[in-house]
């Protein structure tokens, strides 16, 4: 699609625009949902489009189109220019300059392209069967699916940025419903990779079933303040919310609780948090970001729980007089780049999960949290969500609990991290690699 990108750049030159950047993408995706051992839904999709960003005396205008005809490209450039006339100028807003060699990461696996639809359908069916076979109390797998996608990105600018890369990924997912004595509990699981061979549909289905079944008989527990062990799914939600406060954008605009705390201790000694867009197995790994800046490894919390820094795109980096960390991420051609994490990695000295559990006199193993995006406020740091899980008493998992709340504040939870499990795994949705995390001083609200 460099022909389209170059045509748009040419239209911009013809319209007298000096600083322009063109981002084009094309992608194809498939989704197969099965229900009761039959294909329920099969979706095949292709999309392509182009986004144009222009800078005029420090003012930014953006426009996009899915129509790639010469007239449409001319119109989209004109619209971006018109939009720049409305935006306010800012001395730090400027066209990103070429940022050096792209990161040595190749997020594309040829094997996925060779997969047949039959294999994909088999895989989705295997997910559902594994969940249903795992336990007779699993009545339904409301969602059993396989999905994949591949895309290609083309970026070029009048400053000489020019690059392209291909990505692909696939995953399977199960959302199982277990029922006993009229009570329904749910559990989900997924398996992710870049080829069908990377996926484990049986383990995925089985895990969703187990996560639902283990909650049967759950009821609210008594309120207490103490220890919670977040399993990797829940831990990933927590760090996902927290990460938006670690962007320079949030810091510079007064909406980060971490503003002004660089170099200070913000977390328990053990905890390390890194953003890394170059990991070979990271689903959000790419050679360069949405502005052409190479991705890299950026420590956020390390050295005894000390806040090391923030994530930057070109604009926030210029404002802070430093270099972009390659975190100017674009969701699609219709959006502007924004500061966002790539892959987040939570790490630290690993303790066997069984040993962590054995050391908890009274607490909760949290296996599901709902309302993380509405109940957690990354600006104020307040964190209050509904949870399900298993009570821990005298070092043993005892009765399941649900319809209780977990409340704390983000800094409070971070500083009270007491241990990290040996069960680290990738959790998609924000591409986070995290183990189970033990935290203290958390308020559980129940009866």
């Amino acid at each position: 699609m460099f022909d389209v990108v170059d045509a748009a750049l040419e239209r911009a030159r013809a319209q007298g625009v000096r600083d322009v950047e063109v981002y084009a993408e094309r992608s194809a995706s498939r989704r197969i949902k099965v229900y009761q051992h039959e294909v329920e839904q099969l979706t095949a999709a292709e999309r392509r489009g182009v986004g144009v960003r222009v800078f005029r005396d420090g003012a930014v205008g953006h426009a996009y189109t899915s129509d790639l005809t010469p007239q449409a490209l001319d119109a989209v450039v004109r619209r971006a220019v018109d939009n720049a006339a409305v935006s306010d100028a800012d001395e730090f807003a400027a066209l990103p300059q070429p940022g050096g060699e792209p990161a040595d990461v190749h997020p594309y696996d040829e094997r996925l392209t060779a997969a047949t639809n039959e294999r994909r359908i088999e895989l989705a069916l295997a997910v559902e069967s594994a969940a249903l076979d795992a336990d007779p109390r699993v009545k339904t797998v409301e969602d059993a699916m396989y999905a994949d996608g591949e895309g290609e990105v083309f970026l070029a600018s009048s400053a000489g940025v020019r690059g392209s890369f291909r990505v692909n990924q696939c995953h399977c997912f199960a959302y199982a419903l277990a029922e006993q004595d009229g009570q329904v509990e749910t559990g989900y699981a997924f398996s992710v990779g870049r080829a069908l061979e990377d996926l484990d549909p049986e383990a995925c289905g089985r895990e969703a079933a187990e996560r639902a079944v283990r909650l049967l008989g759950a009821k609210p527990c008594a309120s207490f303040k103490g220890q919670v062990l977040l399993d990797p799914f829940v831990s990933a939600s927590f760090f996902g919310v927290l990460s938006s406060a670690l962007t320079a954008d949030a810091v510079q605009k007064g909406r980060s609780l971490f503003a002004g705390r660089e170099g200070q201790k913000v977390a328990g000694e053990l905890l390390q948090l890194v953003d890394d867009g170059t990991l070979p197995d990271g689903l959000d790994s790419v050679p360069f970001d949405g502005e052409g800046v190479p991705t890299r490894r950026t420590p956020l919390i390390s050295g005894g729980g000390v806040l090391q820094g923030f994530l930057y795109d070109t604009y926030t980096a210029r404002k802070a007089d430093r270099a972009s960390t390659g975190n100017g991420i674009r969701g699609s051609y219709s959006g502007l780049p924004g500061v966002r994490p790539t892959n987040l990695v939570v790490s630290g000295p690993a303790t066997p999960v069984a040993d962590i559990l054995a050391g908890i006199e009274h607490g909760v193993l949290v296996t599901d949290a709902v309302g993380v995006h509405s109940g957690a406020n990354p600006i104020s740091g307040e964190f209050s969500v509904g949870i399900s899980g298993i009570l821990i008493e005298g070092g043993e998992l005892t009765t399941p609990v649900h319809e209780v709340t977990l409340a704390s504040d983000i800094i409070g939870m971070l500083t009270n991290v007491r241990a990290l499990g040996d069960d680290a795994r990738w959790v998609p949705g924000g591409s986070i690699f995290t183990p189970s995390v033990l935290m203290d001083g958390v308020a559980i609200g129940g009866t």
Partner: protein
């Protein structure tokens, strides 16, 4: 191109092409969407963006199976490729249903009248709105540290043809304005949020409305600076009108969507006609409210939107159907088949869902509550339709003591499960109000309205840190 004048012959040919190897229903959905958005933060308009996306989707239903394919190309090649993709997936082999000849295009141009089409308004006037909001928010005091104002407009034209012979054109204009304000006092940071939106044009907004919206958001943030951590435990909860309706949307509405019902993944499955709420509770979903944010003349399957009674005097009376689930469950489609865009499969979705007003006053309700929690504004929430369990963040809450609102409370969540809460509604006021929002489900966001009057839930779990 103007999709209203799309070649009906090509649509018919595409439907037949999709059905050639089997299937009992085919549909073509053509969409042309143009959006413009402005965003102000830090006192400057930092992003102005707009664009146009067009494409077509072909859907084939065969028994309970759905095949879906789409293309960005609105020509014969694009439509044929999508039709071939769905036909290739169909394995029944035998020829499919016949295509009924498409009749004249149906549309309802007066259903949600647009007095001032936003695309005819100079973009500078839209910029004036976000600037006015910034000024008004910052005028609320030195504690205001940030204001974010957003303006958005969308004009979406859809043309829907199906093998039953339906041909529907719908021209939808939506306009929305939102303000978020951040206030800080020492180490305490609080936010306030307010929006205005409708299936209407630029007549919905002017600088006075922009300033009022910002002032409300700023007031919420400043009020909450003086808040104390919310208590923990079970207590009476009074939900304010407007934003309080989000609770009904999440706790009940999602469980009434027919896809969850069909799979038995809802606590409301198999309960038609049964008591699911207190006797004085009635509730509706209404996609036809004039100029409502969640309204449109037709749903995204070409079915006219309607007012559906879902609960009458405490008894379950209706589910929300798309065509697929209506077929499976032998019911009539209710105009709730919606999709985010041509890139998304239509599924049962709410439009504007609300609990009908009662005859108390908000003051009566608070005065009748010796001690409780008053939720003025909810931050949003989530539900598991299968179990009915939900959780809500409270953006603005107060303690009720001796029948009066006292201390502002922060960090509260409301936890419970759908039917349990509906059964415990013991007072409803008459101050009905609808608010606009975006509801997410299966990765698709669609505009919805949520509403209610002030009401009381006799007992509910409040989670806080205090």
């Amino acid at each position: 191109m103007d999709i209203a004048a799309f070649d009906a012959g090509l649509l018919e040919a595409t439907l037949a092409r999709a059905l050639r190897r089997g299937g009992d229903f085919a549909e073509v959905y053509v969409e042309d969407r143009d959006s413009t958005g402005l965003r102000l933060e830090d006192g400057r308009i930092e992003q102005t963006s707009g664009g146009r996306e067009a494409g077509a989707a072909v859907r084939l239903l065969s028994g309970e199976r759905t095949y879906y394919a789409y293309s960005d190309a609105l020509d014969e090649a694009g439509l044929s490729a999508a039709a071939d993709a769905v036909a290739a997936a169909e394995r029944s082999g035998a020829g499919g249903a016949d295509v009924v000849h498409l009749g004249a295009v149906r549309s309802l141009p007066g259903a949600h009248p647009v007095a001032v089409p936003p695309d005819e308004v100079a973009i500078a006037r839209k910029a004036d709105l976000v600037r006015a909001a910034d000024e008004a928010a910052r005028a609320a005091g030195a504690e205001i540290v940030q204001a974010i104002a957003g303006y958005g407009e969308t004009r979406q034209k859809v043309l829907i043809a199906n093998s039953l012979g339906d041909l529907v054109f719908d021209d939808r204009t939506r306009t929305r304005f939102s303000v978020q304000v951040v206030a800080r006092r020492d180490d305490v940071i609080q936010t306030g949020h307010e929006t205005v939106g409708g299936s209407a044009g630029f007549e919905l907004l002017d600088e006075t409305i922009a300033r009022q919206t910002a002032a409300v958001a700023a007031q919420k943030a400043v009020t909450m600076l003086g808040s104390k951590p919310a208590p923990v435990g079970a207590m009476p909860v009074v939900l304010a009108n407007g934003f309080g309706g989000t609770l009904f949307h999440e706790a009940c509405g999602h469980g009434l969507e027919a896809d969850a019902i069909a799979k038995g993944a809802s606590i409301y499955a198999g309960k038609m006609g049964q008591v699911v709420a207190a006797p004085h509770v009635s509730a509706y979903d209404d996609g036809s409210i004039r100029n409502g944010w969640g309204s449109q003349a037709f749903d995204d399957e070409g079915v006219p939107t309607q007012k559906t009674m879902v609960i009458e005097d405490g008894r379950l009376t209706g589910y929300l159907y798309d065509r697929l689930r209506a077929r499976q469950m032998k019911a009539a489609p209710s105009g709730n088949g919606r999709r985010q865009s041509f890139r998304h499969v239509p599924i049962p979705r709410m439009t504007t869902t609300y609990i009908a007003p009662g005859d108390a006053t908000p003051d009566d309700i608070i005065a009748a509550t010796p001690r409780g929690f008053y939720a003025k504004s909810l931050a949003g929430g989530q539900v598991e339709p299968a179990s009915g369990a939900f959780v809500f963040g409270v953006a603005e809450g107060y303690l009720i003591e001796d029948g009066r609102l006292t201390t502002p409370l922060r960090g509260a969540t409301l936890v419970g499960s759908g039917i349990d809460i509906l059964m415990k509604i013991d007072m409803i006021a008459g101050d009905f109000e609808v608010k606009s929002g975006i509801c997410g489900k299966d990765g698709q966001g669609v505009p919805v309205g949520t509403g209610q009057s002030t009401l009381r839930i006799a007992e509910m779990t409040v989670g806080g840190t205090g």
